[in-house]
Symmetry: C2
Subunit: 676 residues, 2 copies
């Protein structure tokens, strides 16, 4: 372990076979980045030795069966070094990752994106690149492994989660949330290999950091090992030691970025090395004489042998799975596929019937709890949690048990005040599979979790965010805690279902959609304050699935359409009463999920929102986005009004705030009258 430049010839002489294998990664990286004229050469060149030892001797995998559930997970948190992963997948013989794909690095239609994209190719366990996300998702993967192991036993579930993280990952705040959570939960099968290369884009790490990372990890309950990241024997020892630990382990791998190149140990080495002279000099230094993208057959064979060394273990595992009782196996396989149990539909319907009869007046956060109370017992794969707002988010139901080092069967996680870490952990759990995670915080703190929530959408993982206190209706906590722009922010995000149910029935329907979603995350935005049951007549059909629907139609000639979501639907209904009383026919459209409404055919959308009547939208949030429904969907030009927020909120009891900001039935009725 030295800060001096390594002697490449000595390294090569000491471990000639290892050196060649690692050089394959390094040179493929150089060639692909040069071909793309873009990318990041330095990290794969620096971490090739660590990755080679890991894949050759430790990582449990079978390249021919990338979906083997009990494989080790490998997460490249430093996602800009994507060529490290692509090289490994190609060399070991994963499906889809051909040499042509490597040649097409960062090109349109390829699977070798600038940063690893989940679903692009087998072996890419997570989308990484936004720094810190990989290490934070890996915590969720390790949680899921523990949960599954407790449930199905060590013979079926027993694998590690390996992470390569860079300085950028560790500087991002989310890494602290992840480290602290993993330390508290004693996730001993989580192993982070820190690429300690002391370089960032702006220059030396010391330009912006003096943190002793080893001390920092120890402070949160991790084991820490230091290793020379270019010494394969030492790396092997370190990885073995890490696997035996009782805590999560961080291995500080002292490496040299862009090893062996003229840009070694410099910020330039972080980026794209494309200079032909530099590349050829570097290859010479490696003792590499092949043509670009050329991997000699014998070397490819060595790597493919590594790719298949897990085949036997995988076959044995399949035998063990086959020996498991058929009921348990079916359950295991169903949960892995992400399928909800058949009973879910009937369970939701029964609850809806009960609610339509009882017509409770409760906060929709409470409605959500009522749903979870009937769902959690029949869906053993749910894993709940909250970022330290359990009693406010109503996310904990009886009998779940707290997941902890002493209770791996627990199904509820105290995430602490870590919204970002929680969201990333939810992603990790969903990626791991076999569990269906949900987590709660105040809707306003969507802000803290944004980077991970965006990844939920981009990766297409069906996690559920339980976001309570969804408007000024939270009252006295004031503008820092009152969402205004957050509905717009979430709705503007592709592949995200934002549900804002108006009562318990809609909440149950929204949950059903969330729990059966295959590739879309769901955000449930829920009230703190009580709302009446508005869906008084039981329907077996899930109306929220249509996104918007007619909750109450005009009795007189239809002159007005009121559109609303969540707690404001009750206000729209009261406004309808006022207008109908004056003979003004008024329809109320509940719009709990804009995205699902947009997916309906035009005929249905026009049926719900016919041209002709004036429209008023009511939502205790920004107007931003509402013009789509006020005008765009054949609305009447200049005949649309919005009743909602026009700036930040204020600190006061909720009722006072609704009056103060003019979000009342009177105001809605008046807005309609003004246009008639």
């Amino acid at each position: 372990m030295t800060d001096q430049s390594p002697d490449l010839d000595a390294l090569r002489a000491a471990h000639p076979d290892h050196w060649r294998r690692a050089a394959a990664i390094r040179t493929l990286t150089l060639d692909a980045v040069a071909a793309a004229n873009s990318g990041h050469s330095g990290m794969p060149m620096g971490m090739a030795d660590v990755a080679t030892v890991l894949w050759e001797k430790h990582l449990k995998f079978d390249a021919s069966r990338p979906e083997w559930p009990d494989r080790d997970r490998f997460v490249l948190s430093a996602g800009h070094g994507s060529m490290l992963l692509y090289s490994l997948l190609y060399l070991t013989g994963y499906p889809k990752m051909t040499l042509d794909q490597i040649r097409d690095f960062r090109q349109l239609g390829g699977i070798t994106a600038g940063h690893p994209e989940y679903r692009h190719a087998p072996g890419i366990e997570a989308t990484t690149g936004p720094l810190g996300q990989g290490i934070a998702m890996s915590v969720g993967m390790a949680i899921a492994e523990e949960v599954q192991r407790a449930r199905y036993g060590r013979k079926i579930v027993d694998h590690y989660t390996w992470v390569i993280a860079g300085d950028g990952c560790l500087m991002e705040g989310v890494s602290q949330e992840a480290i602290a959570l993993a330390g508290k939960l004693e996730l001993s099968k989580l192993i982070v290999m820190w690429d300690d290369n002391r370089i960032t884009i702006d220059g030396k790490v010391e330009l912006s950091d003096v943190t002793d990372q080893k001390q920092r990890f120890k402070a949160s309950g991790w084991d820490v090992i230091e290793v020379d990241g270019h010494d394969p024997d030492a790396i092997d020892v370190a990885l073995n030691q890490a696997k035996k630990g009782k805590k999560p382990t961080m291995i500080a791998c002292r490496t040299h970025i862009a090893l062996g190149s003229g840009a070694q140990d410099t910020a330039k080495g972080h980026g794209a090395l494309t200079d032909p002279d530099l590349i050829s000099a570097t290859k010479r230094a490696y003792g590499w004489e092949e043509a670009p993208f050329d991997i000699p057959a014998d070397l490819k064979s060595q790597w493919e042998a590594i790719g298949s060394r897990g085949a036997e273990a995988r076959a044995e595992w399949e035998t063990r799975l086959a020996e498991m009782g058929s009921g348990k196996r079916a359950d295991f396989e169903r949960a892995l596929k992400g399928e909800a149990p058949r009973r879910l539909s009937a369970t939701i319907k029964a609850l809806k019937r009960q609610i339509a009869e009882g017509q409770p007046s409760v906060a929709t956060r409470k409605s959500s709890e009522m749903v979870l109370e009937v769902v959690n017992p029949i869906m053993a794969e749910t894993i709940g949690g909250s970022a330290d707002l359990t009693g406010s988010n109503n996310t904990l139901t009886e009998g779940l048990g707290i997941f902890d080092a002493d209770n791996r069967a627990g199904r509820y996680i105290h995430y602490g005040i870590r919204e970002h870490g929680m969201a990333a952990a939810l992603n990790g759990m969903a990626l791991h599979g076999g569990v269906r995670p949900y987590g709660g915080t105040f809707f306003c703190f969507t802000d803290y979790a944004r980077p991970a929530m965006r990844l939920s959408a981009l990766m297409g993982v069906p996690v559920t965010y339980v976001m309570t206190h969804d408007s000024i209706g939270l009252g006295e906590d004031g503008p820092t805690h009152q969402p205004i722009e957050h509905l717009a922010m979430c709705r503007a995000t592709p592949n995200t279902h934002v549900f804002r149910p108006c009562d318990t029935v809609e909440t149950a329907e929204a949950w059903e959609l969330a729990l059966t979603s295959e590739r879309t995350p769901s955000i449930l935005t829920l009230t703190r304050q009580n709302v009446a049951t508005l869906r008084k007549d039981y329907t077996s059909k899930n109306l929220v699935a249509q996104g918007a629907y007619v909750l109450a139609d005009a009795t007189a000639k239809r002159m007005v359409i009121l559109m609303a979501t969540g707690s404001e639907v009750e206000i729209a209904m009261a406004a309808r009463d006022l207008l109908e009383r004056d003979g003004i026919g008024t329809r109320v459209v509940s719009m709990p999920c804009w995205e699902l409404f947009e997916e309906q055919d035009e005929k249905y959308r026009r049926k719900v929102l016919p041209a002709g009547p004036v429209r008023v939208a009511v939502e205790a949030a920004t107007r931003f986005g509402w013009d789509r429904w006020l005008y765009g969907e054949r609305g009447r030009r200049d005949k649309g009004a919005f009743v909602g927020m026009h700036g930040f909120g204020a600190s006061a009891p909720a009722e006072d705030l609704y009056k103060h900001f003019g979000i009342t039935a009177d105001a809605v009725a008046q807005a309609a009258r003004d246009m008639l």
Copy 2:
């Protein structure tokens, strides 16, 4: 320092005067929370001793002159404990903070919001409540102090920044970014008092954390002191020691939440204690016999004496300021007021003239650098920086110098990979005053900085975010790095100016508006890729100030209006050429700032966007929000089209992506033709 329950009688006997002063805070808190029937009692009750010693013996302030520039800053990062701050402001005699305001805690129209709101009352140095923000902003305050001290000398600038932070603040990831940054920068005048009460909302801290916070701070270069948070002598010693340190100091104050109440040391004690029996029992335990909200006159006098103990120092400071050279003093006072120098306008105009002549084809991130190159030399108060993307954000200009422990005169900060910590630091600098901060990252990583960026808007501080790589135009880095929903997210946020300039001239105008903004943060979204100069004719008028304007009008009969921003204005101009060539009169409206356009009168808006022509909006981002301009502003029903993104981006060269996603002049022209 003990985990056992303190003996209140013994504490009181040992320091009777101190005890009474602290009890005033505790009982005001109990009374205000009970009156509001909401709030957080436990933290002020736990930290009253620490706060009393700090304000009585250390904090440099003069309650009658809250705006004294050289006052110490006091930041209540654990903002839910707002009654601690309000009590201190009332007791020491700050303006506006009357007993009636305390009685009106958390009520409509009051200044005593649930969480402290900047601008509500003098003495509230920052809006806090979203956890971790206070400690992260305090880093910016301490930076500003160092910068100002280097500039104006110790006689004029020499004060501390004191922070009370709770477990929630320290669990939030942003705290790690803040701690690491402060440690690296050796901000020795930053002192954080950690309320080590071992309780969060869900229960004991150990439910979700095992972190050794002291070790964690030390790992990032802080001095750490431990103290019994109920022993005034020990607190005094600790605060003295902290002031002498050469590093930032964290004081772990072992306290008991909701001290002396039946809810002491419990999660219940964190929230609102409203039970009358509990309150009276607690007051009895304090030896407090007054009526609710009643502070005996002699005790109020003691506190008011504390409030005025800095008057002499303040007067002496004013003398020293008066003795400073008049030019330097005028400069100091101008910067404090946040006024730009008079030369700014002429400087921007000269640049605009030069650009109109040279008509360079450059990326707008480069345009931004060109602006900074002429602005930074004439505005000594600018403090630049980047979250480790200096070369990409083009934020560093010649001669700024790097701000560091060895160079407090440096005006550029290497924030590291810490977008969130950077944004919070920008807020803190702006709150401190005397500096005008800007900071850069990729626009997509707005996600990471969101909580702090929202606070910029809510507090109304004129910081500038330099957000480059603002669309799929960044190319190969792929969808993780390509903003789609981010323009909508920022535009939906109240009190935020989102600028997306189309060329260097617009960039210069946007910068001028950002640098002269008084109460609104600015987000400059800038391209990675080159764009042509479109404003070819020099105008002295700042056209961006109108938000949108006619860049090129129809020559034939006006049948089409193309609306675009940023890099897509060039595409709209090319589409206009195609349409005009076919005799279809086409106007191009550049819309660099929607918010400013909304602020124009209806007459101007209609002039720019007259009813009649069909409209096409072009933006390489989500459509979300565009319907406002397509239809809402007297657009033609069902005669509006959007050319932009309909999902996430992809990894490929920028040109390929524009073609792939159909954001081309041909597509825009065709969309218009389809409607004619």
